[in-house]
Symmetry: C2
């Protein structure tokens, strides 16, 4: 062993950032405090009681009565894979809509489950086109599942869940919806929209730390899982096993739950309940309008058209002569401010400014506008200065 490398490592003290990228978002001190509460056993009656509360609070957040609503013990990607490995069997035909990075990841998941992906493509930065989905079902009437992303984190475009789910159901297909960036930030109504399977993440509009993936499954999914012809390829994600664990009446050991992160998610959901879901949606919309006023006053433009735009994830087109990496480096170094780069095909073309969870507040909007204006001006980009703050404050004044 080369002992020189590890011996000098000491406790890690992270810098205090303002997180306005695509997630994680700022985490409220109440949630951080919850993370530090004493660890208890995962079979402790007190912990089991908290798990039941968590499920109840998640049902509220998802607006559903689904019994099978719980947090998967892993990041959003594990929530995604949980949906696909349980619902897709070898040879199944799945229509997947791709209008950004995460639709592409869904296609990967379908293929790794042995399914056949029929891909409906839309231009990045636009919503999924229901007309194209309808056409795909006409050609592929034996499709078992429609999968799409509600809020594309890579572009900031929002698709119409209800319309897409209705099409799938008319053709007898189930639906898998990615709500990683929408849950808690923009209307999402699992029961009213009749969504069959949905997954999300803890670190976006719920404002919790990353690492947990809330999911919810309707009765059609439970029925489909019961009637699988082949076993689920994943042991960890097999819902048959997971459910025996999350079922209160007969708690079977499956895995050791991530106790302290679940404390954090519980606290985040209690805070969402205290604020009220509709109020949280309204707050995300208000801060978007203020940011938009400032961004447009600077002469910058949005990548996504207004009717398809997510309030909580703002894709802003880079202005002329802007140096992507240098601007983001300076924002971090000079303002402790993180905004997101473009992902995949969007790299170097857009910035992604998140207004999610605890990051969705007036002081963050004003800091972001000031830091962006000063940094763009200092690095020689073509923008209008001295007007963004007033434009944003004007929105708050009339709220």
């Amino acid at each position: 062993m080369d002992t020189s490398t590890y011996k000098n490592i000491v406790s890690f003290l992270p810098p205090a950032r303002t997180l306005m990228g695509p997630g994680p978002s700022d985490v409220h001190p109440r949630i951080l405090a919850a993370m530090a509460r004493p660890t208890i056993g995962h079979l402790d009656p007190a912990f089991v009681g908290m798990m039941e509360e968590l499920k109840t609070l998640l049902r509220y957040a998802f607006q559903t009565e689904n019994a099978l609503t719980f947090p998967v013990s892993g990041p959003g990607s594990v929530g995604m894979e949980t949906c696909f490995v349980n619902l897709v069997e070898p040879g199944d035909k799945i229509i997947v809509c791709r209008n950004g990075v995460f639709g592409g990841r869904m296609i990967e998941n379908v293929r790794r489950c042995g399914g056949v992906a029929v891909v409906v493509e839309d231009v990045w930065g636009t919503a999924v086109d229901p007309g194209k989905v309808e056409e795909a079902f006409k050609v592929h009437s034996d499709t078992r599942i429609l999968a799409f992303v509600h809020a594309e984190t890579s572009t900031g475009a929002q698709s119409d869940v209800k319309t897409l789910v209705d099409i799938a159901h008319r053709y007898g297909a189930l639906t898998i919806v990615d709500a990683v960036t929408s849950l808690g930030g923009t209307p999402l109504k699992i029961d009213a929209w009749d969504v069959d399977a949905v997954y999300s993440g803890s670190q976006k509009c719920l404002g919790c730390t990353p690492g947990l993936s809330p999911v919810s499954f309707g009765e059609r999914v439970v029925d489909a899982i019961k009637h699988r012809k082949t076993p689920c390829q994943s042991w960890f994600m097999d819902l048959d096993l997971v459910l025996a664990y999350w079922n209160a009446t007969q708690r079977t050991y499956h895995h050791t739950a991530p106790i302290n992160p679940l404390y954090g998610l519980h606290e985040a959901l209690v805070m969402l309940k205290e604020e009220g879901l509709e109020n949280a949606w309204a707050r995300h919309a208000l801060n978007h309008r203020a940011l938009k006023a400032g961004i447009e006053a600077m002469g910058l433009s949005f990548f996504v058209s207004e009717s398809q735009r997510l309030p909580q994830l703002n894709a802003v087109t880079l202005p002329q002569d802007a140096d992507d990496a240098e601007v983001r480096r300076r924002l971090l170094a000079d303002y402790n401010l993180e905004i997101g780069a473009g992902l995949g095909d969007m790299a170097g073309k857009i910035w992604r400014i998140g207004l999610m969870g605890y990051s969705s507040r007036e002081e963050n909007v004003l800091l972001c506008l000031r830091a962006l204006e000063e940094t763009l001006a200092a690095t020689g980009a073509q923008i209008k200065t001295g007007v963004a703050q007033a434009a944003a404050k004007g929105v708050y004044a009339v709220k």
Copy 2:
């Protein structure tokens, strides 16, 4: 929505327990404090630096120079599945040793990857028999992998890693070792013993909160993954993708890392480094000897024979007339003390007393002996009273 159910839920304040079951263990206040530090972005240069330190510290804990050493973003079960989905291809023959619950879980993993499991059975509570493994290789010379558990959490038996790995390598097979309960608590030397793939958990002898699974892979594994004939069936666990993320020189977005739990693991490993790995092993051994002295003074006996016994997980046979559930219920209610029940076939036959991580200290040993003695006596079990504390203290006096 039935609004009556969620409206009354408030912040969760867990009771302060002493955790002496099979994990999670007590978490040191320094680690809890680290969990509550401000969340930063997963691509922040400060976070990337911490990840590099984490990998270095894990190499120290595993006693390896393996480049591919990192924490999987999920519980130990995800670490296990990561090993199997990357190494097992359909039709591969795998010798799996089963001497407890977790060997059985390995078999499940092999089958779900399309592999053929050749099962070497040993009586629960005993170590894996190298002679049986050698016989299995003689019959199945086309075996690709040998998989076994170092420290069986369900029974407290310890197997001889070096001897078993040597057999596998003589027959040209790779090795997967479950070190969930051994890492940091009992000697584990990945390079000296030439282990190919190993996974562990954060919440056992490292004394961190549950939810992360440290893994390490040698060059033979990297080579095997490069030469796979079929794609890995899991997107989330595909090491090709995960490595592009954990690789410092070219950080490709894969998933959002669980930031705050990683702060906790970093702090746990810094504490391990401060104590020294050999000192941590010695501490686990000492507290085991003290507990053993007290347990035997009470007239109770160990389920596993001395030479195969894990110091950090003590399987104690229930005394005559002991009421399993009632004793554990009283320990929790009257002493805030959690010990573990028997798992699977061992339910109702043994208790599992963990002395792992921060739980491995004198005050825990003495509390456990006192609480167990008083509770067993009060519930009419046949034990000797008034001698356990002195027996344990005698061990500490001569340490």
